[in-house]
Symmetry: C2
Subunit: 447 residues, 2 copies
């Protein structure tokens, strides 16, 4: 097919070059492996939902929804009003309701898919991007230990990725809720929304906004004092107590957060931080909430967030409480590529280029390649029987580390490592299974 000549990128719909995509795929593989090691089952939902299921989920999401309609419809098929999903939580809630009778609860699932949001594209914000979610959902009640498990899974994913240091900030919505009620601020949601702007506008402006919303200066000061507390251990409890506020909801929240942090101290010391400023914008969180920052790139924003919700879904009779967390994969990958200069060591999975001596012996080269693949070694056969120097350059331009010369017409096969220039008899090779450098490596920039 002859395509039109004009080709332009579409803002907010990023695409990667081959070596970048290999880096992304490595990250996706690690995410999936750790999710599966923790017994989360893979799910995939359709890309579209009825529009009436997407709207009214809070925040600015309504006007970011992409509607989907057939360009030409006929009378025989009635299309419902459909939209592309903007997250994986809304479709998962619908999937749970639709299949509740066929799922085993508590139900643990992971889901790695594209989502679409028509927001204004900017650095680290895209209109099409990949999310990687885990959730545990149960019927009626959900055991609290799952709230401690979520950040541990993420800590294991992030430890295995080339991200450097990171912090998972944890809070419990009941702490500010009980605290605000305890100091007489009854508009909990409104107060949370204002305090949530602390990072962006600073404490003076937040104080002003709280007072403008009806708080006394003393109430505003105490709300800010709560938001300033953070600790990698359980000391946050005493610091909140020292503020002298009493409320049963506050007690519940402190106990719950202490339980999560205690498990974190045992399994991932130094990674989980009790941070009483974290609120998460979405109204449906009712307990623990999570955000994740990469140390040194805090300004990039949270790369992994989530929380506990009392009612992920409800069919009117039964409600499904859950807890979940979502990695913003596209944002993470673009940070690694654009800000930290990471890439893969080559632009193809092939670890070996099998050279072709002359077109008559292409069959011999094909057989070498088949034998290598039988041992799990990705390879390709040279596209043309050109000079060996040209065939080596073909491998070099793609970052393929080895060139295999079949011993056509006498002499044994030879294998050259084109990075070192070293060439050895193929018989002397001991590739029993793919050695480490038969996978593309993650390449970090030299300082």
């Amino acid at each position: 097919m002859t395509a039109p000549t004009r080709v332009t990128p579409i803002s907010g719909f990023p695409e990667l070059l081959p070596a970048e995509r290999l880096l992304e795929l490595h990250i996706l593989d690690v995410v999936r492996e750790v999710f599966e090691l923790h017994g989360f089952t893979p799910l995939e939902t359709r890309a579209v939902e009825p529009v009436d299921r997407l709207v009214g989920q809070g925040g600015d999401t309504d006007k970011e929804i992409y509607g989907v309609t057939r360009l030409a419809s006929d009378d025989t098929v009635r299309d419902a009003a459909l939209g592309l999903h903007f997250d994986l939580t809304v479709p998962f809630a619908r999937y749970v309701l639709e299949n509740a009778g066929r799922l085993a609860f508590p139900f643990r699932r992971y889901q790695i898919q594209k989502v679409w949001r028509g927001e204004r594209p900017q650095e680290g914000r895209f209109r099409e991007f990949t999310q990687a979610d885990i959730d545990v959902v149960d019927v009626g009640e959900l055991a609290p230990h799952f709230e401690a498990e979520m950040p541990l899974v993420i800590a294991e994913v992030f430890r295995r990725l080339p991200l450097g240091e990171f912090r998972i900030q944890v809070n419990n919505r009941k702490i500010p809720e009980g605290f605000y009620l305890g100091i007489g601020l009854t508009d909990v949601a409104g107060t949370l929304r204002i305090v949530d702007k602390l990072d962006k506008v600073g404490p003076d402006k937040v104080t002003g906004m709280l007072v403008a919303a009806g708080a006394t200066p003393e109430q505003a000061d105490r709300a800010l004092a709560l938001a300033s507390i953070r600790s990698v251990d359980l000391s946050f409890v005493d610091r909140v107590r020292a503020l002298g506020v009493e409320h049963p909801t506050l007690d519940e929240g402190l106990d719950a957060l202490a339980a999560v942090i205690a498990v974190g101290m045992d399994e991932a010391p130094g990674v989980l931080v009790a941070d009483l400023r974290v609120a998460r914008g979405l109204d449906y969180y009712t307990g623990t909430v999570y955000e994740t920052q990469l140390v040194g790139d805090e300004a990039w924003g949270s790369v992994c967030s989530g929380g506990r919700y009392d009612s992920l879904a409800s069919d009117g009779r039964t409600s499904y409480p859950g807890v979940g967390i979502s990695i913003g994969l596209t944002r993470l990958v673009h940070l690694l590529i654009a800000k930290r200069g990471l890439t893969a060591s080559r632009s193809t999975p092939a670890a070996v280029l099998v050279a072709v001596v002359d077109e008559e012996s292409r069959t011999a080269s094909r057989h070498v390649a088949s034998a290598l693949r039988g041992r799990g070694i990705p390879c390709e056969v040279a596209p043309a029987a050109s000079r060996f120097g040209k065939q080596i350059r073909y491998a070099d331009r793609r970052g393929i580390p080895f060139v295999w010369f079949p011993g056509v017409g006498g002499g044994g096969d030879q294998v050259k490592d084109i990075r070192s220039g070293e060439q050895v008899d193929a018989d002397a090779l001991t590739w029993q299974c793919p050695p480490a450098d038969l996978r593309p490596a993650v390449v970090t920039p030299q300082p």
Copy 2:
């Protein structure tokens, strides 16, 4: 978030239950592994293209396109008219043009993604489905050996899948083209379109249609005689020659097809079939074309098709010839599930459930699970310290084969295989790395 009560499937947008999705993921893993063993580099393109790039690609595709528009747009961002891609070839052609300066040619890529077509849903036909494509594209000229490579890659994928016998039917467009011209039928495309209906309507109706389109009864007979030829070896060449038609394009086509079949006889004997009836509807194929049938389920249609095109894309100065083949993954998976009754042996990746003796010792169970994961064994910790019988039922309902009982309060750890009932000391286990039954197995129905 509380979702509305009404939940209904959307026709043509299939979703799988967990065990079915594990089967699909196994198939996707095999496809990807073989593609990478052959040195195809992974690519992903955005889900949307400008509508003017999607329309006019031939066939009925125009009216099947899904347009995408933001439900509420503002003045600050101008949205182009976008549509969801209906295949992976059009986006790949655009990607090649857009990134030609940064790609190394011949460029080999694979792409496994969702595509959307608003056609009428029916058995084996979906509105949202996954395709798995490989293509090789070059600048100006493409070496013919790539046309033999494509079906060999597919043969290796299909051999590793639980599909039973299959046939990859191969033809070369130049054979009917040269043959029709040789017998005086100058409307090659029109004749191909009619002969392509042979499977559906039978030879008598095709003869009638050819005659109605201007062919003599003798020309129609000879076109049908060509279409009846098939062979798993090179004997098709003599059988075409025996029809006594001479044309240089026919000679070219026969030589090219013989070269493909000869490589197939060497690498995948009995799998490639020269089948002179195969035409493929799309106009842009110019050489070798492929279709794939599962033996016993031929009526399900082709599950893997493609061909050679002289101009995948062109920017006006340079043209990019290519050859590609595409597995209809969703169709294949639904055939295996709905028609052949395949599924996975469990509904979770977890191979082990670590029991919890009492809530106080949950930490000990968590540590057992961490140690198992460190050895690559997927597991989960029981959600509640209920009676062991209930914890075993939890594993059984999900198909988890092993339950691990931590030796809390004296005594060593014990591991029970709940399929056999056998229970052994954990110290006696020799799980050095995940044994085969630590991955979900493909389960075929018992006769």
